[in-house]
Symmetry: C2
Subunit: 305 residues, 2 copies
Amino acid sequence: MILTVTLNTALDITYRVGALRPHTSHRVSDVTERPGGKGVNVARVLAALGHETTVTGFAGGATGRTVRERLAGVPGVRDALLAVSGPTRRTIAVVDELTGDTTQLNEPGPQITPAEWGAFLGHYEELLSGAAAVALCGSLPPGVPVGAYAGLIKSARSTGVPVLLDTSGEPLRRGVAARPDLVKPNAAELAELTGSHDPLRATQDARRRGARTVVASLGPQGLLARTPQGHWRAAPPTQEHGNPTGAGDSAAAGLLSGLVEQLPWPDCLTRAVALSAATVRSPTAGDFDRAAYEKLLAQVSVTAA
Amino acid sequence: MILTVTLNTALDITYRVGALRPHTSHRVSDVTERPGGKGVNVARVLAALGHETTVTGFAGGATGRTVRERLAGVPGVRDALLAVSGPTRRTIAVVDELTGDTTQLNEPGPQITPAEWGAFLGHYEELLSGAAAVALCGSLPPGVPVGAYAGLIKSARSTGVPVLLDTSGEPLRRGVAARPDLVKPNAAELAELTGSHDPLRATQDARRRGARTVVASLGPQGLLARTPQGHWRAAPPTQEHGNPTGAGDSAAAGLLSGLVEQLPWPDCLTRAVALSAATVRSPTAGDFDRAAYEKLLAQVSVTAA
């Protein structure tokens, strides 16, 4: 089983409108809802790849209830979310029908009490004992200590469970210092962590700060990996046009599944890039186009960097 | 008991953001939720004025559950909503913290099946038998026939229950033809109904189309009333600055409560204008400032028009 941790789960809502004009009223023509938060997205892709996956983190209130009802309908994903008193946040993506551009509104998330955080730590330890790997994903809700991921990484390491960290800002900085097996920052997150806008230099610096392997996402250009076994660049055959929502989470799922299957790094990277591009190509945000994925596997180029 | 009908109830969500910029991502700093839809707002104000009020219409899904949970906490308001299979819509008001301007996103509402609409008609007849007056408010959800209000007005008239209609477009046009006791359009709705932008002429025309009394809302300038007893203009002492959300619903509650208490028209109009201005002045959208309301009662001017 692969465990994904989403401390700030979400009910992801997508609205389609003619065109978003500030300070006017809009009739939404189409509404879709799905359980979200980076770790939930990663779990969905892992399950689609055939990996038994368990989702943990927090869920509360009416929105939390909806997230759990929807999760129950996803084959291969087990719900091990912990109930909390505060309501799970919503995120609203407002898509302009004309341009396809998206405006995002993200609620901050529930206030987690010290007792709830304490309960989570025990729950996490139990889940770790059955996990082949763990992914720690996304932002922290209010009340969760900024060093939370560092603690969760230490627990995973002491249990011998490989751990992927995908977050940003101070939680990433502190998490990296706790020596995770893999971090997957995008270019902006990596620059914020290291102060360098040169991806080669920045990935090297992130490793020096504690990450065993760094796989930087360079958006449509693919991935740049710096691992103990070597350095690679992996790129899709063409730059994909479409909705990049969830592409990073698909890449994380690709890397983590490859790690668990003990694939060589070039194969892990190929899978991650193919999944990511197939996600951009899918009409539904965060889903991947399976036929495109299988085709892309043969088309991704991996070169020494 | 006063009955308010809200066929398209809503979970009204308010987000505060620094400034809304299309095609970027926003962190929402504050989230508030309350049960909404025009008839629900009218009921809340009626209850605050001491009138026992019953709310009916439709509620469904997780959002409907939240609406009903919240309604249970409003003293003086009884929940007689009918459960339906589709989910109650959300409305999102995004408030720019800097300017105070609001951007509105309104979901369309649940699809009402013919069986659900039929069940509602029976439910409504039962509720009418105990009602001193009824308010029919707001838009129609998908599936409800466009002549719905006309039918509900005929039922009320045949039971001898006075009826206020507050809607727009074709449902207003058809409703007016069914001879309601009172319609409360704003200037835009009145112009759309009658084709005239002259409020005096338009209110006269609306009466000719079937409404016994027409009270047009002229925004910050107050109300213009054309009744069988005379014609009046009612204006607040100053033009209020603030959030106009819910001001029209407060005016409707003022008129309806006055009708039930058999107040003379000038007193009804005074109450409606004072409530409306006190709603604009309140920091919370759709609530009225009671101290301001009581002060304004002595300051509203009513003149023959």
